[in-house]
Every structure is written in structure tokens, then in C-alpha cells.
Symmetry: D2
Subunit: 374 residues, 4 copies
């Protein structure tokens, strides 16, 4: 397999990031199939054609179905608003396309489950765009945990906080309508996924979800306001299947925070501290060191943390956000070409959704909710 | 009032800290009555007399009642294990002594309430040894919140984590028996108190308490083990009376952490970040600044943050842990001499205990528990 | 001008970075001409052809002259060892190609001057690969200084320290022979260039250069050793033309440091602190703020710092090292297309070299050396 | 020896700190003689008597000679302006008193040498108040260096920067007159002393001293100005006797900096980073660790770093600035009582002065100046 034809649907923030990633992955990861940028779709011809020109796609269209069914396409990237993912993914899967869908998979876990079922009945691979998880240092973290280097894990304390919805005058949009999902679905899903990535399934959850801004103007500056139907802040207590407990917070009204995707994880033999604000650093503590000189070590990402070396041969030079997406694409392509399994796929996407759904339910019912394991 | 005679009961970690504080307070705060170190009590004559010599007390005794009733004594410091506080405090209050009692007031809120009632029926002042709260930067934080500089507060996320009980072979002791109280009572009480100090009463709580180490050896290295009856980790969801929500964690098995008494507090106009690991720093974010150059400001403690200037005339020179206790003593003495009200007193000590009790109950009942307001 | 044909010479660390940058620049900066990847040259056909396949060049060659003279080429990237830059650049300039040459321009300022003269006699543009300087936050720093926001600048204290030569068994190579240039030329040139970028010309310098490892094995593990002819550490005192003084250090044997390109800059109205280890952060202090809450602000890079927004629409998401090179290429292409002037060009490359030469001379002569202004 | 009678001369910032230290040392260090606070002297009777009351001295006087000669006095603390140190120290030494003199010993090394000679001819001990050096973590640093844990030391890069003279309208005073000594003498002496403490004698120095503020008002707000005769910024290149090079900067006009006494120290097997802004932390890097998880370790001060445990039994609780002075006094008293030798004494005080004098001369002569070894 020398190349894979790509269709990109959606050209906003995430569409742009996907396009960058496809271009870079081909150059940074010589072992994977080249990405052939076949076709890009957007809501208007003009937008699509502008994107094609900018990102280097061969064709453009306002008809996303045409993009999916283009004969040169084997991979479809879906970067549209959450509520549109399902229809597009089902169409792409039915057409036998590998699907890279942005997160969260869908507004509800029921929808996500439908997508998962379709994926399971197909012969293609799926990927969900939780790209922070592709960080080489987080793979190191996972390996250390799996190898028992931190002992038995006793606590996970995670957060994803940003402030893009802090201003009560940010207008109403799909984001704050029921189908948007709220802070927990939009960004909390990252830390939920990260918790699962590091520690495995979450078995039950207790949630406290809050809407801080009850209504938002229909447009910037408008007098008319519409009710917000989702959470601005979510606080979750967790129980993992492996036994340990934890907590997670999501907050998109966290004044001053731009990218606080962070966690502290404690084990009987060590601890880890991470913050996406400094994505090239991981702090580690290990028991059993000389007490005079023990403490948290600041590990800097370098070629000793694959696949950092594909992106830069010198340590400490710093990967960027876009390059996490590049790694995501590279791992997906590698899996398509028969290499190591990619992660996270639609099953994982659904599983994350199931945690979120359970948390929403828990908050309404004021009771711990068990999470279905797929 | 030129001086106040002091009796110190207990000469361990906290007893030592009290002794240091009394000696320093007299020199650093010329406006308060001098501390006359009258008598120190410990379980043996030898220990008490050694302490008297070391700390400069005039007399020593193995009889704490004698210390309380010493005619030259007006203030009694109680630094014994938690389960002993009540009896001593009641005796001291009955004897008309002002009482500075270490935290937590008592193993249960019922006991704490009894102490509070006694205090209310006395004519003396009380103080509880939550000394971290005396940090000039936390007083700044409280003032900023009260003045509305951070807007409406929307979230509080606090933690107190240390690792002194992380090793499962730390022997069994009063700490891990029912009357000890567990991680939440022992250190979580600090962050509960801090949350109240900054944001006012907590109206309800949901708790998840866990025992990580089910049994501990009866002595270092012993084969025989005894069951642990308290929590090693506690995770709390909160609702404050003012409306905002929050979360708190306590963990005395947090491998690698020595003093993570920390919080992040978000308001609609700003945010604060604090960590006792760097007690002379407070991070503040403010909305409405030039976006090119806005961000979290690292405020360093200095004479502009009273009473820092009593301790050091130059900013950035760093206060130490012991000096927070010195401030505590100074504020208590000032109040006794008729100055500004001291804080936290037995009412506050009881109120913190009530939150902890509610959390324990909540964890058992798996239900939100309303907190009685005194 | 719709596209620019690129020839890349050299495919090592920097060659790879250039290739990544050309691919990304076309997608991230729609306003600039597209990069057409015409031809890549390396020392062997095999290496060149492998690179062409990986990076997407149309052709490959082992003859760098052929690459330069390829009729579809307008821009030549030179990423070979320093000692080869001059010959290649002169050839490319003579052929009327725009030249992007890696830093430092040449082992000596005499060579760099020859390159500068050739550039001045050509009609093309030149660029030198000091990509760290393209950081949006450093452009903010420069603007603030230029606008007087920091008052009169009174001190600059810079360093570039890494540890890739710390091990005395790293084999001898061109790097440590006379023509390599040493730590000051190799990495110190970055901080010299940055000092000039922020504060303008350096008028005189006093240098203390040291060789820490006097000889190195001819190959990894070999018994035979060859003398090191260059500095491992360089310490410089500076006088800027604008009047202020400063100091700079270069060290490629700085055990533990991977990317400490850092400075502190003081003015009468403020100060800046930067470290490439956290390239998305700039600390700023301003006088005249409320003393209770003043301190260093941690500014996080975001779309308010152009051209960050071309690379990512959301603040705090973190640019990476490669993206600084992308910005470099984009600004060069923009200038070629008639846009704003690019920086740093061969004149600047020579000027940096002149500072280094003066420092080397100063260290030998133990005297302040005035720096020729071109 | 059960107690030592103390006379304190001067009750400003440093006098206050000494008083605090004497009071605390007696309680924190049971093994040393008690400090009996005999007499305090200040320029007026009123000031002295107020200080006696505040700090707990038995007597007060406006006659410093009387204080020295008080029959109950064995130790004299000198905390007056630099230019007065010599006369007082000579008197105290002649009277057979142990002398703790604030830093720097004297405005010139000639004066310091005279004081040293007097000390050498006496039978008493001397101490100079460079208290930052008493930090338990810096003693750890010194031990690690001495034990070869960092390999051969190859670089020292130090700074002491504060901003108390940054404002050009701070009035003229003894500080900025010739006898004051300038930024290098006032605060640079701390980092010079620290460099010597860690690495041993400095053999030669090259200095660049600058006056940033040429004149200052005779009083706050006054129109009349007087010329500043000393350096505001000093930049030094160093050669240590052990062979390694280094650099030091002093700056008392470093806008925004309150206590940047900091250094980075590199060896072939490791590195250390320290900043007095966070005095309870020391960063250490070690070669030879697993590359996946190596990096700088943040060591937090604790009881494993003597004498931290005398001050607080729990790690991570944070020592304060005043407690470094307490350790200084304790070590001095211990030495007087026949224990381990104290440091730094008048010989060291003179040696630091000699480095500063050499730097001043070097800056004037623009030549490296060898430093006399006592």
C-alpha cells in the first residue's frame, strides 16, 4: 500500500488541523502510506474550493456524499459539528472507507453506539480524534503504569479546563444546545479518554453538572437570549474497574485557562503529573530513591520517546499541538497498512461517550451510575 | 495588658511550633502583649522539663491540669493528639483560660460542638491552629474575593495531599483508629477551612472516602497487623451557600507530595491559583487586560501584604511555615488585648468538623448531605 | 506569483526540518506562494532519492549544482555543514536563486562577508535559518521594546546551553575543528542574533572562550584522539550601540540542558524573561501596577500574537519547534512575493558572525573588541 | 557553656533579623548555648530602648562602646551601615568579644583586611552575616560537589538581582556613595560568597561595572541631586582556582526582581539550579540515568537536610528567610562552644571583599585581575 486517498469533510479549526496533519505525516513517517489529498468538502462550493487550494486537495465539493464516494478515496476525515458525525460516518463506513472522526463521536452514547455497531460490521478501521492522547510522553506514562513502575495506582485526579465559554455574552450555538453536549462532552471527553487510556475502564461515576450561564444572546450583542441546555462545569467522582478511585473536572468557563488538560496520578511506588499547557514535560516521582536527592523529575520529550524522533531528531526542541494530530494520522495509516493497532477507535469513542452519559444521568439522579462495558 | 502567661500542653511537632511562635511573636509584633512562657506540660516530667529548658518555659509538669490552673497562666495551647483535645479544652475554658487548640478540634463534630458550647459560655477567646490560613497572600485572596475583584465565583477546586501515610508499613496508631479521623480530618480539614475562609459556608457535600491500606503493623516491622478504620483518600463534591460548586480532595498517601495544600478558584472576572509548596506565591488572572500581554501574574509576598512587614521588611524574602504559626499567635493575642477579631475560633473549628462529618456520612449513605450552619 | 520552485541541499536534521516547513507553509499561509518541491540533493543518489520520496520532491540528485540550476527552481535551501555554505550560496546567488541558508552563515565572518557581498550584488533575497527568532512571542517582545513599553533597556542576560557535546567521548568531527566554529558559533549565534533582534547592534564585546574537552576520539570508542580546536563554553560581556550592557553565554557541554535558549531583559519600566524550553510562554513585568497584585505575568502564545493564528486558531495550544521554521519559510516567501521584508537575511547573518569573530579575538587578546557595523 | 551574652548594635532591617534569630536559635537548637539578650545599642536612647522592649533585651544604650564592654556580653552583633563596621568590630575584638558582623565586612578590602588581622590576633571567633549560604540545600549542594557527585565542575553562572534601586528617584544615601560599595558589594557579595562556598577560591576576575542612574535626589522628591559613585550593575567573568570558569552578575536595578539570588552550576556528571526566590527547592540533574525518565529533579528541603529538622520535623513545610539567620547564629554559637567550625568568618568576609575589589579594579583597568589568596 503506497498511498491512501483522503476525503476531508469540514474545514474549520479541526478540518484545518487534519489537513496539516495529512501533509506532515507523509513527510515525517516514511514507513506509512502517503496521504493523497483527493477531495475536500464544505457547506459551500466556495469554501470547499478555497480550502482545496490552501491545503492542496485535488478536488472540492459542497456535497459530502460525493467526497465519501469518490473512487480514489479510502479514508474519510469528519470534522463537522458533533450532531452531523453519525450520518457521515455511517455513510462512509457503508462505502467501505476508513473513518477518522473528530471527538466526541456523537452527542449521545446511543448515537455513538450506532456508529460503533456500523464500524464493527464493516471491514475498515476507525479512529476518533482525541489527539492529545498521542503525546509521546503520555505513551511513556501508560507504559510505566502497565509495567508496574508506579506500583498499584491509588488515585487519578484529572481536569480539562478552558475559558472559551467564560464570557456570558458568547452567543448561543449548537455547542450549548442539547445536541452539543456541554463542557463535559466537548473537552471533558479528553480527560475521560486519557484516564481510560492510562488506567483502563471506568466502572462507575458520580456527577455534579452545572450550568453557570443560564442563557446566551442569539448573536453577539443581541438582546434576545436563548436558554443554555448543557453543563458549563462538570465534577465527576470515579471508580475504575481496576479498583482505584479518582475524580475528573471539565470546565469551559475557567477564566484564564487556555489548555489545562492536566492530571496527577498516584501509585504506591510513584506518581505522575502532566499538564497540556506544557505538553513536552512529564513530572515523575519514584519511591526508593536517596531521600537527600529525591523529588519530582521533569522529563522533557525527546527521541527516546517514540515517535518524537520522526518529528525532530533532537530532544527538548518541543512538539506542537498540530504534531499530535500528525501522530494520530500516522498511527491510523500505519494500522490501515497492517501495522500496530490504532487507538482510540470507535469502540473507545463510544466508551468515552458512555462515561459522559452516565455522568449526566448521575447528576440528574444524584446516584452513582454503573458504566456499561462494551 | 502587657503580657500573657502561656501554658503549653504537648511538646511534639506542634508543641514545638507553638513554642517557636510564642517566642517570635513577642519580638515581631510589638503591639501585642508579650508571651510569658509560664509552664509546659508533657506526659513525663523528663520530657516536660527538657522542653522547658529548650523552649524557655519557667516551669514544667507532667500534670496538664496543673499547667492549666497555674495562676500566672491566661492562655493555654493544646497540642496533644486529637482525642485528648476536648477534655483539656473544657478544663481550660472552665478555668477562664483563652485556648489555642490544634486542629482538628476533635475526632467528631459532636465533640467539637461540645467544645464550642463551652467556649460560648465562657468569657475567653478561642483559636484553632489552622495556621496555613494565616498566610498574608491568602488574606489578600479573601479580600479580592470579598471586594468582587474576581467577579462571581464559579468554582473552587482544592486539595491537601501529603505522603506520610503512603507506606503501608507505617505502623498503626491513633491516627488510623476511628478517633483519629483519617486523611480528611487530619489534613483535609485545612483545605475545607481554607475553602470556607475564602468563600464562606459550605451548604452540602457529597463524599467518596476510601481506605487504601486496610491494615497496618502494630509496630514498625511487626507481623501482627491491626485494621485501619479511617479514610486514606477523600474526594468531596461541594455546594457553597453562596451558590457556587466545588470539589476537595484529601490524601495522606499521595506518594511524592510533602505539602500540596493547593487550590484553583475561578470567578467570572478572574482566577487564583495557590500551592502551599510555594507559600510565598499567589497566581492571579484578571479579565479585561490587553490580550497581547494578559496571563496569570505571579504575586510574591511582601510588606504590602500585612503582616508580612512585621516579619521582614523586604519583599520576596520568603516567610516560612513557622512564621504562619507566629502570625496565628499574634492575631490571637491581639484579639485578647481587644484588637481585631481572631480567626479561626472554636465556632469555625466546629464548622469545619461538621463538613467532615457530613462527608463521612455522605460517603456511607451515598447521598448529598446538608451541613448544619451553627 | 503562485508558486516557488524549491531546491533543498542536505537532508540531515535541518534538511528534514526545511522539508517539513515547506510542506506546512503552503497550507498554513494561504497568502504566500505555494512551495513546489522540485529537487533535493544529497551526497549520494540513494540518500537523495530516499529523501525525495519521503518529503515529496519531484526529483533528486547527488549533484548540488544541478539542483541549483534546475530551471524550475527559484529558491535554494542550504542545510549542509557550515564549511560548505559559502560555495553553494555563491553558486545559487550567481544563478539568481533566492537563498535560505542555515546558520551560522559560515565558519568565519570573512566568509560570511563574501556571501553578503554576493547577495548585495544579486537581485534575489536571502534568509538565514535562525528560526527561534520567528517565535510570535519574541516578535511581541521586540514590539514592546521598540514601543518603549519597558522603558529604557538597562540589561540583557542571555544564554544558549545544550548538552550534546558534554560527553567527552562524542567523536571528533567538523563541529570541533577550526572550520566548525565551536559552541559560540553553533548555538551561541542564536542568542547573539536574538539580542540583536531585540536591542539592535552590539558595539563591542569581551570574550572568555574555553575548551573543556581538549581532545576527542576519532570515532566512537576509538583509542586515537584528535585535538579540539574550538570553544565548548563562551562567556561574553557586551555593549550595545543603544548604550546598554549585557552578557551572553554559549555552552554545548551543559549537562542536562536540551534547549536552554533563554534571556532576561531589564528596562526601567519592565522586564522580560524567556526560555525556549517553554517556547509558548513569555514572562513580563511592568512597573506602575498595584503593588498588592503586581508580579511577572506568564503570557501564553495565542492568535493575538501573529502569525500564531495561521497555525492554530485557539490560544494556549502550543506551537512546536518545526512550526518556527514554517514561519521562517512563510515570511521568506512573503518577502519574495513582494510583502514585508524578511529577517534575518545575509546581512544579519554576517553581523552575527562579526560579533562571534570579535568575541574569539577578544578572548585571545584579552581586550574589548569593537564590532564593525556593516 | 550554658549561655552567651549578646550585644546587638543597630536595630534596622538586619538588627531586627538578628534579634529574631537569637530568640529562635535558643529554642530550635537545644545543643547550643542559650542566647542571653543583654544589651541593644542604637543611635538614640529612644530607639534603643524601644528595641530592647520589642526584642527582649535586658538593657539598652545609645553608646555602642558601652554595649560591647558590658561585662555580661560575650558576643557582639554588628548591623550598622557598612562604613561603621570596622571601628566597632575592632573594638569588640579588642575587648575579647566574639563578633557576628553583617556583610559586607567593609567598603574596601583594605578595611576588611584590617578587621581580619585583628580577628587573627584575637582568641575569639568571627562570623559574617551571609545568611543565604546557611540554607540546608546549599550545604547539600556543596557536599555533592565535594564528593564528586557532579563530576568535574565546568561552569558556574550566578546572579544576585533585586530592584530596590531601580527607581531613579530613590534618594541618594550612603549606599550609593563611594563607601557604600554599590550593587556588587551590597548584594553581589552574596553570590560571590556562594560561588566560593561551593567551588572554592576565585583566582581571577574580569569586571564590567556600570552606573545606570548617574545622580539621585538628595531626598525623596528633592530637586537637588547628588552624583552616584558606585555601580548599579556589575558583570563579572571568573576563573576559579580549581580551573573552571564562570560568570556572576549583580544588579540592584533589576525591575521586578525581589530576591533573584540564583545560580546554575554544571559538572561533567550533573548540574544544579538554585534560586533564592524558591529557597526550599534545589534542582539536580544526574547523568547515567534511564534516558526515558531522566531530567532535573526538584529536591524539596526536609529533615534529611540538616539542620532543617531542628526547625521543622516535616519535609516540604518551607523554611523562611529569617530561619537562615537562625541557622547562622546557631552554627556560630556551636563553634563558640567548641563544636564544628563556623562559616563564613572574617577571613571569608575579607576574601569576598577581595574579589569585589579586584572586579572594581578590573572594570577600571579593562584587564583581568588576579585575586590575592589570604
Amino acid at each position: 500500500m503506497k498511498e491512501l486517498g483522503v476525503a476531508l469533510i469540514g474545514t474549520g479549526f479541526m478540518g484545518m488541523t487534519h489537513a496539516f496533519a495529512y501533509r506532515s505525516a507523509s513527510a515525517m513517517f516514511p514507513q506509512i502510506p502517503k496521504a493523497r489529498l483527493v477531495v475536500v468538502a464544505d457547506v459551500t462550493e466556495a469554501a470547499a474550493s478555497r480550502a482545496a487550494l490552501q491545503f492542496g486537495f485535488e478536488e472540492s465539493t459542497a456535497d459530502w456524499r460525493r467526497a465519501i464516494h469518490h473512487p480514489a478515496v479510502q479514508v474519510v476525515s469528519i470534522t463537522t459539528p458533533n450532531a452531523l458525525h453519525k450520518e457521515m460516518a455511517l455513510e462512509a463506513l457503508a462505502a467501505g472507507r476508513h473513518v477518522l472522526c473528530e471527538k466526541p463521536l456523537a452527542p449521545t452514547s446511543a448515537d455513538a453506539l450506532e456508529m460503533l455497531r456500523a464500524a464493527q460490521h464493516s471491514k475498515v478501521l476507525t479512529q476518533v480524534g482525541y489527539n492529545y492522547i498521542q503525546n509521546p510522553l503520555l505513551h511513556l506514562a501508560r507504559e510505566m503504569i502497565a509495567a508496574g513502575e508506579l506500583g498499584e495506582i491509588t488515585d487519578f485526579r484529572g481536569i480539562h479546563a478552558e475559558d472559551y465559554m467564560a464570557d456570558s455574552e458568547v452567543p448561543h450555538s449548537f455547542r450549548v444546545a442539547k445536541e452539543g453536549g456541554g463542557a463535559l462532552a466537548d473537552i471533558g471527553s479528553h480527560i475521560v479518554g486519557l484516564a481510560r487510556f492510562l488506567l483502563g475502564p471506568i466502572s462507575e461515576v458520580y456527577g455534579q453538572l452545572e450550568t453557570l450561564v443560564p442563557s446566551r444572546p442569539v448573536a453577539r450583542g443581541a438582546a434576545e437570549r436563548r436558554a443554555v441546555e448543557v453543563d458549563d462545569v462538570a465534577r465527576l467522582l470515579l471508580r475504575f474497574e481496576r479498583g482505584c478511585g479518582g475524580s475528573i473536572q471539565a470546565n469551559w468557563a475557567a477564566t484564564g485557562r487556555k489548555m489545562q488538560l492536566a492530571f496527577e496520578l498516584t501509585g504506591t511506588k510513584g506518581a505522575l503529573v502532566f499538564n497540556q499547557e506544557r505538553l513536552n514535560e512529564l513530572l515523575q516521582y519514584r519511591t526508593g530513591q536517596d531521600p537527600r536527592t529525591s523529588g519530582f523529575v521533569r522529563i522533557e520529550a525527546g527521541p527516546q520517546h517514540p515517535p518524537y524522533g520522526n518529528i525532530c531528531v533532537a530532544g527538548g526542541h518541543q512538539l506542537g499541538f498540530n504534531e499530535l494530530k500528525t501522530i494520530e494520522v500516522a498511527r491510523f495509516f500505519e494500522a490501515i497498512a497492517g501495522g500496530a493497532q490504532n487507538f482510540p477507535d470507535f469502540h473507545e469513542g463510544w466508551a468515552i461517550q458512555a462515561v459522559i452519559d452516565a455522568a449526566v444521568r448521575s447528576s440528574a439522579d444524584k446516584a452513582w451510575v454503573a458504566i456499561p462495558q462494551g
